[in-house]
Structures are given as structure tokens and as C-alpha cells.
Symmetry: C2
Subunit: 128 residues, 2 copies
DNA sequence: GCGATTTTGACAACCATTTTCATTTCGCGG
DNA sequence: CCGCGAAATGAAAATGGTTGTCAAAATCGC
């Protein structure tokens, strides 16, 4: 684990929601770190490859990253307003995906699931 | 519904799996149509906005499109090898997403789900 | 300390997608 | 059919997230 990867991982550990490479880079630079954008991308990729970080694609096509709170398989419930993110287990989804795959003769079935909503904090402030 | 949008929609209706804008453009041009890449993108966007076409983002971040076989809410089971796609209903997923959202105090809950696997055709040929 | 290997950073390159703007097409009413 | 305003189009330029390149720096293991 090199110092740059550690710095990148640290930012994600201290963040609550998903962060883009551009975000992480901007934050590190404004904190005075000497790090290149390419290095940020590569660090994020290495962290993701090592299972330390989750990646998802936004509607815009950009990759965003979040430090894993748990090693177990999980999904994300993300506030569409503030980005607040909760890791959730999805046993019902796993079962459904397996069943649907089997029903149509598919093997090696994998799935992606993301859930979006408005969190209680944002619902409350939107009303005031 | 303009002639360009109709042409684009036609390509998707005659395709089985998801197609990228670049694919659709290449096919239209090689069939002799005089159409611009930008127009393809805009036609796809209009079709998606009108609910006639599903969009999803690939792992590469590229958008791909598929004509909707049904107006009802559905998900996709996609072969990772050949692109063969089946539309599937997911009542268990809907219930789970609602429950998970409610459990964490979220409102206006939406979800994205895609399922990937190797279809029976590809499993069979991979073995030969 | 040393050599081999890996990582880094700045810059260039890539590529899907969107913007710009002049032109064409569309849809409607007369 | 014609005229008109609005919408759509196409080509070229621009955008911006991401990756490749390559020399230099850092790391690793002995």
C-alpha cells in the first residue's frame, strides 16, 4: 500500500457517500498534497480491484467510489439530494436474481442493484 | 415522430439486445441513410424520454439502448457474451427496495437493477 | 546499499457525448 | 398549395472523464 493509495483511501474512509476521482483529486490538492490526477484514478482502481472500495457509474457515465464498510456483499441506498449512503443487505434480491437466471437458462449470474431516494434529512429540510 | 427518430427506433425494434448510439449510427450509414451522429444521440434521448426505449450504462460508462417490449416496469437479464436480453419482472425486488427505503427513512424510492449471466446458447458453445 | 520492479506525475491522447449555428424539415392554418 | 414559426437536423467544434506514454522517483527484497 503506497502513500498515495493510502491518502486516497483515507479521503474515502472519511467521506460518507460516493466520491468521484475529480472530487478526491481536488480535495487532496487543496490540502497541499502533490499528487497527479492519473495517480488518483489508478489508486482508486487498485483499491477497487482489491475489494476495498465500491464503484458505481452515475447516470452521467462518471465513476464514483466509496470505501467499503463491510466485506460482505451489499448494495447501496443513496440519497439523491445529499449523497448520504447506507449499505444494505439484499437477500431477497440475490434469491430473485438466481431464480430469474435459472428460469431463463443462464449461468454465472451476477447483478447490480442501486436504490435511490430522498433521506429523512433532505425530506425534512425540503418541507421547511 | 420524425423520419430520423423513426429510423432509429426501427433499428432498435429489429435488434435483440442493447445497442449503442455508435452502433446504430454505423448501421444507418452503411444502409445509406444520411443521418448525423448527433441526430442519432438526440433521437435516442427523445425515444428514452418518451418511454419507448430503455437506457443503461455499461461498465465502460457508455450508454446503450433497447426498444421496450412492454410498457410495464421491468428489468433486464443480459448475456455477458452475446448480448441476448430478456425482460423480466421483479416484484420481489420492488418490495425489497420499498422495504429497505422505508426502514432507513427514505421517501420517493427508485431503484436500478440489471442482471448478467451466460445464456444457454453461449454456455453450450463455450463447451465445444 | 544496490538492482529490479513498481509507482508516480505531467502531458498527450482518446473517445463518447454535447454544444453551436446555419440550414432544413415539420406541422398547422389559411 | 403556400407561408410561417417552431422544431429538428448535420457538420464541425468543444467538452470532460479517463487512460496511455515515458522519464523520474519510490519501493521492495536481498
Amino acid at each position: 500500500m503506497t502513500s498515495r493509495r493510502e491518502a486516497v483511501h483515507d479521503i474515502l474512509r472519511k467521506s460518507e457517500g460516493f466520491r468521484s476521482a475529480q472530487d478526491v483529486y481536488a480535495q487532496l490538492r487543496s490540502a497541499g498534497a502533490k499528487i497527479g490526477l492519473t495517480t488518483v484514478y489508478r489508486a482508486l482502481q487498485a483499491l477497487a480491484d482489491g475489494g476495498k472500495v465500491d464503484v458505481l457509474r452515475t447516470d452521467d457515465g462518471e465513476s464514483v467510489y466509496r470505501a467499503c464498510a463491510t466485506d460482505t456483499h451489499h448494495h447501496h441506498l443513496v440519497c439523491r439530494k445529499c449523497g448520504h449512503t447506507v449499505e444494505v443487505a439484499g437477500p431477497a434480491v440475490e434469491r430473485w436474481a438466481e431464480a430469474v437466471g435459472a428460469e431463463h437458462g443462464f449461468t454465472e449470474v451476477t447483478h447490480t442493484v442501486e436504490v435511490f431516494g430522498t433521506c429523512s434529512g433532505c425530506s425534512t429540510s425540503a418541507r421547511s
